[in-house]
């Protein structure tokens, strides 16, 4: 199996080199046969990589411990799904998975675009193949998953215990796939830069593929938040940990792109800026992959310390230099068709959105890499923790929330301020009432302001739906539900987008509440004893030992009462995995009572059963997971195949008012 896998990777690498040469030569010398051959080479490379993936997966499933990678990450007593998940539990496997995603999506993109601009396709092919070739070099010569051990062990070491969690089945594959899929829009962008051709169809394809990467990465981030919340035991879902930060960066830049690309489609502006965002997203995605797997910024996630670092660093530098060079070279060809006419227009709203997203990206990047500089230049070790990000990113996020409310009511080109005021007077009032009410009730001015912003934006978005639904009903007499569905179907870019806005708003409620109103207590309890936290009383009922196939488990049972009534009983676990007994992991006991999460961490225990428990009350965290579901739904509606556009019903095209593309 090992020979088969590494052989497939070597052939894939050579085929990729051929494909790059064929596509560039074909484009330069105008030989369409060569280009076609290069496209087929991409499919061939993908097939070979998939075969290598199957070989490695088979090695895992058959416990082939001759392979160092398999022996180091799995063992016979692990449940099958974790054995499979161990595939991407290390650097080699995750890079192999990465290159497979690039190949699959790249091949799909080349297939769907087979009828589009022939001048661009060769460069898309060459870019995708060059990304794959680099990874194949690393997988063959630097970090091969098929390396054999001199002596075959009887059993493997097993997966790092922190990774043995249901979250492992979802978060890494989504996150890695998200990173990898930025390759496709990047390749499209590079082709546009190299040829200097950037038509409307091409832009639409770029947007669609960015949407794929953005949606997958977003789901990956949310799954990671859920995982952290259940396992890491700090009562939170986002720790501004370096590895989390670098995963957020490409999401931020691609969100910015998805907004500013609308301006380009509608008004022919911001061409260079959009391509720069595309480039930045890809570079940051590679940076994210590299950081997770290099231990450059040591953090909770940086398991692997390895030699691939210099390769990635070299690649990042090369892409950055080539990309910026091409952007400068193409600057004259990518001039805007129009100019901004008024500051109070939808265009400048999008620009402001981009400014804030760029600032968020920069601030997060700055905070993440600053300790590196500090150590290099001032030999001082620093920790840039959540307080920094809360103070710096907090205000920016608040600004973004408000802008999300104002943006949709701004008109293209120029907004009549009277009309604007009329459109937002009710949301404004709702925001003010919410803010004042909460200030009085909660006595936390910052939280009140943030909630007020959420209320304002939610109402604006709802009114947008209502206005459009009414318009549909007036003209066609549909029921409200049907009208909303038709709206999403026919106009998914706008109303699906608003659905994602709703998701962000729902998540914002959970984030604001749990950030400002978390309560934490620590108790030392004997079995049967109780303690009070907030409106809750918890009773510690005792410890229990269990044994699973691969671990010993200590479970603490805790009953949660509110107003004298038993609401729920939870168990908080400690796992001691075989071979990793000195690294106990945990799974928290979490009870959702009403709007609060009661979150129980088993810290420590004595022989007599006395336990040290940390208990958190996390208000409204459930909203974050509800928001996550809405995010997925909203993202899916964005892919809804669009029926014939509404613009067919207009006698002549009215430039600047076609809502289907906003």
């Amino acid at each position: 199996m090992a020979e088969f896998g590494s052989g497939a990777l070597i052939i894939a690498f050579m085929l990729a080199l051929y494909g790059i040469a064929a596509s560039i030569l074909g484009a330069r010398r105008h030989v369409p046969e060569l280009v076609t051959s290069a496209i087929r080479a991409t499919w061939g490379v993908t097939l070979l990589v998939v075969m290598a993936v199957i070989a490695l997966a088979t090695a895992f499933l058959t416990h082939d411990f001759r392979l160092a990678y398999v022996a180091g990450r799995s063992s016979r007593d692990m449940p099958t799904h974790y054995v499979l998940a161990a595939f991407y539990g290390g650097q080699e496997g995750s890079l192999l998975y990465w290159v497979m995603i690039v190949g699959l999506l790249g091949s799909l993109a080349l297939y769907t675009q087979r009828r589009s601009d022939r001048a661009l396709i060769p460069y898309v092919t060459a870019t995708i193949l060059s990304v794959m070739a680099l990874l194949l070099v690393i997988l063959t010569f630097v970090a091969s998953p098929f390396e054999l051990l001199p002596v075959t062990p009887l059993d493997g070491a097993g997966l790092n215990p922190l990774l043995r969690d249901p979250g492992m089945m979802v978060h890494p594959p989504l996150l890695l796939a998200g990173y990898a899929s930025f390759t496709v829009p990047f390749a499209f962008g590079m082709a546009a830069l190299i040829t200097g051709r950037l038509g409307a169809d091409w832009l639409r394809a770029i947007r669609r593929w960015t949407l794929v990467a953005w949606g997958v990465l977003g789901c990956g981030l949310l799954a990671g938040a859920w995982w952290a919340y259940h396992v890491l035991g700090w009562g939170g879902y986002w720790g501004w940990d370096p590895v989390e930060n670098v995963a957020l960066l490409p999401w931020l830049t691609s969100t910015a792109f998805l907004h500013s690309v609308i301006v380009q489609e509608r008004r022919g502006m911001l061409k260079v800026w959009n391509l720069a965002l595309l480039l930045a997203s890809f570079i940051l995605a590679v940076f994210g992959t590299f950081v997770v797997r290099s231990g450059l910024l040591s953090s909770v996630h940086a398991f692997a310390v390895s030699e691939v670092g210099p390769w990635f660093l070299f690649y990042l530098a090369a892409v950055t230099i080539v990309g910026i060079g091409l952007l400068l070279y193409r600057l004259p060809a990518l001039q805007s068709d129009r100019v901004i006419e008024s500051v109070s227009s939808r265009e400048s709203g999008f620009l402001l959105n981009n400014l804030i997203f760029a600032a968020l990206t920069f601030a997060t990047f700055w905070g993440t890499v600053f300790p590196l500089f500090s150590e290099l230049f001032w030999s001082t070790k620093l920790t840039v923790g959540p307080p920094f990000y809360n103070q710096v990113n907090g205000p920016l996020l608040l600004g973004l929330l408000l802008l999300m409310g104002i943006g949709p009511v701004l008109a293209w080109r120029r907004t009549d301020l009277r009309l604007l005021l009329r459109n937002v007077r009710w949301p404004l009032l709702a925001g003010l009432v919410t803010g004042c009410g909460l200030l009085f009730w909660l006595r936390e001015p910052l939280a009140a302001v943030a909630f007020a912003a959420v209320a304002f934006t939610t109402l604006v978005t709802l009114l947008e739906y209502l206005r459009a639904t009414r318009a549909r009903r007036r003209s066609s007499g549909e029921s409200y539900l049907n009208a909303v569905i038709q709206l999403l179907r026919r106009n998914n870019r706008r109303y699906g987008g608003y659905l994602v806005h709703f998701a962000v708003l729902i998540i914002a409620v959970g984030v604001i509440a749990s950030n400002f109103f978390q309560v934490e207590r620590q108790f030392l309890l004997k079995p049967g004893e109780s303690a009070a936290i907030g409106p809750y009383t918890i009773t510690y009922e005792g410890l229990e030992d269990r044994r699973t196939a691969d671990a010993e488990v200590v479970a603490a049972r805790v009953a949660i009462y509110r107003a004298g009534k038993l609401r729920e009983t939870v168990e908080s676990y400690r796992f001691f995995y075989r071979n990793y007994e000195d690294q106990p992991t945990a799974r928290m006991g979490i009870a959702t009572v009403g709007l609060d999460d009661v979150y129980v961490v088993l810290d420590r225990w004595e022989d007599d059963g006395t336990a040290s428990l940390r208990v958190y009350i996390n208000p409204l965290v459930i909203w974050i997971w509800v928001g996550a579901a809405v995010y997925i739904l909203g993202t899916l509606t964005l892919f809804w195949p669009q029926p014939a556009l509404a613009r067919q019903h207009v006698d002549r095209p009215v430039r600047g008012v076609i809502p289907s593309e906003a």
Partner: protein, 173 residues
């Protein structure tokens, strides 16, 4: 049988808690040993429950062996001992600032989750502000350039636009 299982689990509960890489593991062990030497005279007695003030201070300190988590939230043995030290110092009447200074003296400023605003670290705090200001400046210049070059356009009334938009929205009919 059950009891035996528990004592096994307990025996395996070695100090240091969750450590990730081998490098971090070695470092963690070293730090644990150092801290044990430092803190044992203080944390000799049985564990005492922590006050909310102690938890607040613990949340401002970074757990040295498990990066990314605060002393309040970490499950590691070292963090547990540090929490106890904080509590004992509070009981002894020390101020929160003095307690934090004590830990900074022992571990360096990387123990603080919020980097102090001093010396070159100002660059960390001002960086995003300068970035935002520069970006805002560029945006402002761009908008002004557009406004000054603005041709007199055949401006349609916004209300008309909105009505057209609603017509379009209603789709099929």
């Amino acid at each position: 049988m059950r009891h035996e299982g528990r004592s096994n689990a307990l025996r395996r509960w070695v100090p240091g808690g969750v450590r990730l890489t081998t490098g971090a593991r070695a470092l963690g062990l070293l730090l644990t040993v150092i801290l044990l030497a430092l803190a044992l005279p203080l944390a000799a007695a049985a564990e005492e429950p922590l006050s909310p003030e102690a938890l607040e201070i613990a949340n401002e300190l970074n757990c040295p062996v498990c990066q990314g988590q605060s002393v309040r939230d970490s499950n590691s043995q070292l963090a547990r001992q540090m929490r106890q030290v904080i509590q004992q110092k509070l009981d002894a009447g020390e101020s929160p600032d003095a307690i934090k200074a004590y830990f900074v003296q022992r571990y360096g400023i990387e123990i603080l989750r919020e980097p102090p605003r001093e010396g070159f670290i100002w660059a960390l705090w001002w960086g995003p502000v300068i970035g935002l200001a520069l970006g805002g400046g560029v945006l402002f210049a761009y908008l002004r350039r557009g406004a000054s070059r603005q041709p007199p356009s055949e401006e349609s009334d916004s209300e008309v636009l909105q009505r057209v938009e609603e017509r379009l929205l209603s789709g099929a009919e």
